[in-house]
Symmetry: C2
Subunit: 722 residues, 2 copies
């Protein structure tokens, strides 16, 4: 890549960014789009735009985002989002400090030397960047000392800011946990691996007597986990019919207002997808169906509560300290029985995973790890195979009906160009979902934990395949084989190939922030989908609301993406310091734009009180260590005699990670008692706490308030007398 | 070694054993020796010999030991000793089962083959053993299948018996912990890493308010850990003078009964060791000294309680569940503050280690690990150096006063023969103490934990240096260098050298059990020391009692010794199955003789409720894995094509260890709540519980009962008004 095409690429990205900004400014002010650009505010019952529409200029969002405090973020989007911003601002801080110190020093040092022409920091003839990088320094030159000191500076700044950030996140977490509001999850623990029910006892009696003996004063009540698969299915069908009924009524009401005052009663066919079968009156039909399913649901609820009890339970305590202490204590002598963890928010609980046994969970975990490891190493094999098979010719053979399409020349050309990549593109798009699915297979009991696990896997995938893959070139598997035979080669291989890819990564980062964040802010895709749905699909309010539902920040995939940039920028920070401003722009723009999105768009789907942070911290450290080791290798390549003086750096990073893991991590696993001991502003209504954990498919409006308990106690009675 | 000398060696050992048995039978029945052979019974206030002296024949101890139940052992010597016997009987069980199955099969299979003459299981010409071992099998012979199946048998039997043993020990531990007797350590936790005292509060107020907030109902009281170095010194001096006074009075009383009725008042010199200085009347002098030191002690006690408070405390709870749960909960957000563990028995607490800070402990641990690793690898270097320096010639130069001794020819010869080994002998004798000292340096807070840590280090030392060292020959360091360069060579090196050392280890095991256990039972050395002391040193009852104080079973050094035998026997069990009966004899005799010693001699110095077991279990597993890997290597040496089929074995062992660590280990770290929730037979007297933790140097008879508390609360008052 030469300098012109580098500039062209940068320029194009920038133009796209500017266009997207203008589009955003224009679209977001149109009233019809408010639900796409301000859903979080609307759902919270706030005015979409602060201070009304008139006082706003198109760029006031920048001021609003920049001036918003951490408290605003927590109020609007929760602690998890605030922690994500701690991550962004920490990395931004590191890069700004390093940039301010390093750029004025390293660039002149590099540009005034003239010995490194034998090396290059760009494939091709991009000499201008070479002059600004370490590649321009003669081997063994004393000028390398400047870069050497730079290495130490970057490491120390990173560690110091990480330390401060960890402490800050810990404080955020503590503040949230000790808040005087009653949060039902703080009064409950989840018990798994309950041993078989003894003769003459029900599951509920077993659990109650066990916990009453240990917590005579603070035990409140237990809820046995049931297998809700069947009841959920019925409930979902029922909800589906309710929606369809509402929709049919809306259509009917709509048709009434026009020409015929009695309206056209909507009709539908009863068969598959409403395409075949008998034609019936929709409203009548759905009403019948609803009645049928309500009865079915009630019957199934009883059966579920009575007969589908699992070896897991939720146990409720009447105060926070008891629950916090119970969640971290060893209850049974055999650790694989009565194992306990602190309850997450009710919405996060993955009920089907609760019943999985201790060692089955362990086994599943390792099996999933092996699958993921194989996937990371060998994902190219099936994709190459599929690409080879899915040529147009083959496709036509298998799917004869696409023949007419293939005949059109333009389409044919496009298809032939993209088909080889199609499998890869689909795979990469599906990957986060696939990893989340695999993580849930591990038997992880909460949504947020599964997201963390998936995010970790995604991180390894991107760093190993994108960063190391692109750098070294060729598939990871080949590298892996070489490395296995000569373990020490990895470092020198990385170090030798790094400089050659500087330009590639510069443009990559630029593309990411200009186009990526431009699309993020302008929300073009959700906007189009929303308008299409509104026009052609949605018939009533509920459906419309579903159409603009914003989703959450999805930091399960966002963090690994950012982390890849962190890795790239850190690894090049000394070799080609010019990458630092690009990193600053990425994290600066990201901070600003996502701040806007967090305040106005995304609605968090759960709250884990910043449990993501230890993972973020460790992955930044991993990136730092990778950087330190490659620098060690690169100084070796540059024949710098004092290169071994860099060895303390990775050791320091490891020590830092160790200290963090020891000092901070446990209070991310469990709430510390001193935190849980803070007072509440009101006596908790334990009944409400209890009911908040009843899954919607089991709580029926028709059944009286205490029915849930009754149903269970009926079970007790009926089975204990059998 | 040829067959004759092998038999001679065995015979000699056996003769020594028989002689020692006869000596024991004769000496133990003499009334004057009862305190040496029955101290545990005497200290417990029981009749030294069960059923009186007359009904006994000299070998009735065998019947008594064999018929004693586990309950007897726990009553006489505690759970730790019972767990030690679980270890002995488990290994014994493994060896008996394997012996019964393997010997009748493998020996005929080996002896009827004739192809292995190229190999040998003994250095020299000991063909008789060769015929009975795997070395007699031709390479690639189908007969190897018998040995192959033997490998699986030994592994499976070991794992099954270990599993049963672990469950049994867990049960023993639970029974002991849930016993209805009040044990003061079950009501206390130790708190370390208390943050600096806030302005205007005393340490005690800080601790009390912190725990009262978290445990408003169950918190009883706290005891601040103080720096007792000074007060301990004074207290020991005082106790010394008290002993000397008692002795002087005994001498005076003794002199009175003889010729002069007024007696000779004993005199002593005040200077160093009583050799120089002014001559004074002993009784008067010691009385003066005692008065002086009592005053000093009281003053120092006050100063200690007031001014030498450390950042650690004991916290007492009014019930067992609260203490058990507090010991395993995270109290502070920062894990390196307010860290907590369950209190050990008061006598086990290592007060000086309590104040060491969290990360200092971590650091100390790693430093000690490095020192021990260096010691294991390089211990021969300083010893060789010292041996080279300490020739007689050099010694005479340094210590001229030994010249007359050197002139005696006999002594000279003996000295010249033993001097080279002297450094090694002294080093090996000191090693357990040295390792215990190093373990305490780690900052470990309890005696039993320090013993476990030292025992682990000793295990690595013996297995690595004795077993692998002897087998491979040469120093471990040379091996280490080879292994580092070619990691796969270790296995084949071990496998190739193992058979050659079979005879050496056979005689080693025989020596160990015949001579070792013979000496153990006959207690010749303690007997001689006791009689010498009684004759020349002891003047009163207290001193006499100190002279026959039996000490404990000291399994810190015993277990590693046994473990070496386990390793040897397991590793040779298939190659030279003849070693199995030797192993059976070792553990059978050991079980019997130590049973006698546990019931009658040793007095346990602490009780950790079997916390040694997980370590024992893991080390047996380590020995098993070593055996499995060497067998894999040896089958390779024998060119057995199906050798890779042994690979599942080490994996199985690792999996077993993993499952044990997950399933059982945590309840050895902390008492499970379901166990602690068992009722007590009486309401605990919390005052007594509290007082039992006051170190003797701080509890003075003169001070009133509640003085301890008062002293501390005075401090509170005096400092809080400053």
């Amino acid at each position: 890549m030469d300098f012109t095409s580098f500039l062209t690429s940068l320029g194009t990205s920038f133009v796209i960014f500017v266009v997207l900004m203008i589009v955003f400014a224009w679209l977001s002010s149109r009233p019809g789009n408010l639900v796409v650009y301000y859903p979080n505010r609307i759902l919270k019952g706030l005015e979409p735009m602060e201070g009304g529409k008139k006082t706003r200029n198109p760029f006031s969002w920048i001021k609003e985002a920049a001036s918003s405090s951490e408290r605003d973020i927590i109020a609007m989007s929760g602690v998890d989002t605030a922690v994500y911003f701690v991550f962004l601002s920490t990395v931004l801080g590191i890069l700004v400090i390093c940039g301010v110190v390093l750029l004025p020093v390293l660039l002149p040092v590099a540009v005034t030397d003239d010995g490194g022409k034998s090396q290059t920091t760009s494939k091709g003839t991009f000499g201008e960047l070479d002059n600004l990088s370490m590649a321009n320094i003669r081997a063994r030159s004393a000028r390398l000392w400047a870069f050497f000191i730079g290495c130490y500076l970057v490491s120390l700044v990173t560690l110091i800011l990480l330390w401060r950030a960890y402490k800050h996140v810990l404080w955020l977490r503590a503040e949230a946990i000790k808040s005087p509001d009653v949060k039902s999850e703080q009064f409950a623990v989840v018990v798994r691996d309950i041993p078989p029910v003894p003769e003459g006892q029900t599951r509920k009696e077993q659990v109650d007597s066990y916990f009453k003996a240990i917590y005579p004063e603070t035990f409140y009540r237990s809820m046995i986990v049931t297998d809700n698969k069947e009841v959920n299915k019925i409930w979902e069908e029922l909800e589906g019919y309710k929606k369809k009924l509402a929709r049919a009524e809306a259509v009917y009401a709509g048709s009434k207002t026009t020409a015929k005052p009695e309206g056209t009663r909507p009709m539908n066919k009863t068969g598959c997808l409403g395409l075949i079968g008998k034609k019936v009156d929709s409203i009548e039909f759905y009403n019948e169906k609803i009645n049928e399913f309500v009865a079915k649901l009630e019957a199934e609820q009883k059966v579920t509560l009575r007969e589908k009890q699992q070896a897991a339970a939720l146990v409720f305590f009447s105060n926070r300290i008891a629950a916090a202490s119970a969640a971290q204590s060893l209850h049974a002598q055999m650790v694989d029985t009565w194992s306990v963890f602190d309850a997450p928010e009710p919405r996060q609980l993955l009920w089907p995973n609760l019943k999985i046994k201790y060692f089955e969970r362990e086994l599943r975990q390792y099996v999933v790890y092996v699958i993921v490891a194989l996937m990371i190493l060998f994902y190219m094999i099936p994709i190459t195979f599929i690409s080879a098979v899915t040529t147009l010719k083959n496709l036509v053979k298998i799917l004869p009906f696409i023949k007419p399409i293939v005949r059109i020349t333009v389409l044919r050309t496009v298809l032939e160009a993209y088909l080889p990549q199609l499998a890869l593109i689909i795979f990469l798009a599906m990957l986060p979902k696939l990893l989340l699915f695999l993580s849930k297979l591990e038997g992880i009991p909460t949504e947020s934990h599964a997201v963390r696990a998936a995010s970790g896997k995604y991180f390894y995938f991107t760093v190993l395949n994108v960063f190391i893959g692109v750098t070294i070139g060729g598939t990871l598997f080949n590298t892996f084989k070489t490395v296995e035979e000569h373990p020490n080669k990895l470092v020198s291989m990385l170090a030798a190939s790094l400089p050659g890819n500087a330009t590639f990564f510069l443009t990559y980062v630029a593309l990411k922030f200009f186009v990526g964040y431009g699309l993020e802010l302008s929300r073009i895709v959700p906007l189009i989908i929303y308008h299409l749905k509104r026009k052609f699909v949605c018939k009533n309010e509920a459906e419309l609301k579903a159409a603009w539902a914003p989703g959450d920040l999805s930091y399960g995939t966002r963090v690994p993406g950012d982390m890849l940039i962190v890795t790239i920028v850190l690894c090049y920070s000394i070799i080609a310091p010019l990458i630092i401003p690009f990193g600053v722009l990425y994290f600066g723009l990201g901070w600003l734009i996502l701040r806007n999105q967090a305040l106005k768009v995304y609605v968090p789907s759960y709250e884990s009180y910043g449990r993501m942070w230890p993972h973020i911290n460790n992955r930044i450290l991993a990136a730092l260590i990778l950087y330190q080791i490659t620098m060690l290798g690169y100084f070796g390549v540059q024949q710098f005699l004092y290169a071994p003086l860099l060895i303390p750096l990775p050791l320091l990073s490891l020590g830092f990670g160790f200290v963090c893991a020891k000092k901070f991590y446990p209070s991310f696993q469990h709430p510390a008692l001193e935190v849980a001991a803070h007072g509440l502003k009101e006596v908790p209504n334990m009944e409400l706490v209890f009911r908040s954990f009843i899954p919607p498919s089991l709580s029926s409006e028709k059944i009286e308030d205490d029915q849930f308990e009754d149903a269970s106690s009926q079970v007790s009675r009926s089975t204990s007398f059998v």
